[in-house]
Amino acid sequence: MFENLSKKLFGKSLWIYHCNTGACNGCDIEILNVLTPYYDVERFGMKLVASPRHADVMLLSGAVTRPTLPLVKKAYEALPSPKLVFGIGSCATGGGCWFDTYNVNGGAAGVVPVDYYIPGCPPRPESIIYGVALALGIVDKQVAPIEMKQMEFPIDVYERNKAWEERNVIYELLK
């Protein structure tokens, strides 16, 4: 439903405002890389703008540090609605290595509502394009939570494997 809505609302063009909230510049360089002719996200009608008031989409990169927190909130409020927020990089998604340090808010999710996460440290330009395409409804989501469980007690498995390995021993003795 959200995909259809975003297709309808932003189908023609998304104007992007890039907001660095304490990133190490890795993600910022990858975002700029996406705008170069090689990857060229302008195929989808995207354009980097300087002011949040012109933008539809905010790209957040970096774990939101304490000094940038009020500024991020201000920039988010300055975006005209409807607005989308992309968290780019591991820091914006979950806080990265700094998820529980005193100076960091542990990712963008606790500060502003984030619609799409693009993990990676830094994410490849291709995975940023993938996230954009996901938001536009061009591609499907590829990740899902995985739960694994051992159903049998491994001792039994071990003994069974051992019996299977030694199944021919009796014939060798008879030879």
């Binding site: 959200f2 002719p37 090689y38 990857y39 060229d40 195929r43 304490r66 927190l69 591991s90 820091c91 998604t93 979950g94 806080g95 990265g96 290595c97 998820f99 529980d100 005193y102 100076n103 808010n105 990712g107 999710a109 619609d115 799409y116 996460y117 693009i118 993990p119 990676g120 440290c121 994410p123 490849r124 291709e126 995975s127 940023i128 394009i129 993938y130 996230g131 395409a133 996901l134 061009i138 591609v139 989501k141 590829q142 990740v143 899902a144 939570p145 995985i146 739960e147 694994m148 469980k149 051992q150 007690f153 491994p154 001792i155």
Partner: protein, 181 residues
């Protein structure tokens, strides 16, 4: 003058032609030694917790639910894909796949959890004591571990024997309040 320079530019651009990748429709193979998201093999894993000890972002959490069952959770949302877990794994149970298309609208999609049976001594019924002789036990934190998985909190406290009070006390663990806001 500017016209000649523009013509020159156009000629320069014609030479390489179109270089733009048609990415979301046509995929390009990943380079060799590319590290994407890590993946567990629950059949190979022995539950030593070495990956949890060595993860710089503390993405892997270990919680002993009882004497024999150990729950391990990988929270991919803050993973930096450094590959240390795959390096340190004694059984090669963790492999770095070449998956990088991880964009999602829900952080829970990146999680991977695993429940393991831990072997106990056939004579005394315990797992093993905290010893410093074998390679696994020399890896930082030893013994039974009680990380809180809901709060994604790493608890640096372990016990020699399984302790139910410890399990209960870490159930509702809360991070200390942050400065400011």
């Amino acid at each position: 003058m500017w016209l000649t320079s523009k013509i020159k530019q156009v000629l320069m651009v014609i030479k390489p032609g179109v270089v733009t990748l048609n990415y979301p429709y046509v995929k390009r193979p990943t380079p060799e030694n590319f590290r994407g998201s890590p993946h567990w093999d629950h059949e190979k894993c022995i539950g030593c917790g070495g990956c949890a000890n060595h993860c710089p972002a503390r993405t892997i959490l270990v919680r002993d639910l009882c004497q024999e069952i150990r729950q391990m959770v990988y929270d991919g949302s803050r993973c930096t894909y450094c590959g240390r877990c795959a390096d340190v794994c004694p059984e090669d149970a963790i492999t770095m796949t070449d998956k990088y298309e991880l964009a999602t609208d829900d952080r829970k999609d990146l999680n991977e959890s695993m429940e393991l049976f831990m072997l106990t001594c056939k004579r005394c019924g315990r797992c093993y004591d905290m010893e410093t002789r074998n390679k696994i036990d020399r890896m930082d934190i030893q013994g039974y571990r009680y990380d809180n998985i809901e709060a994604r909190a790493f608890i640096r406290k372990t016990t020699d024997r399984f302790d139910e009070d410890m399990l209960k006390s870490t159930e509702n663990f809360k991070r200390p309040e942050k400065i400011g806001e």
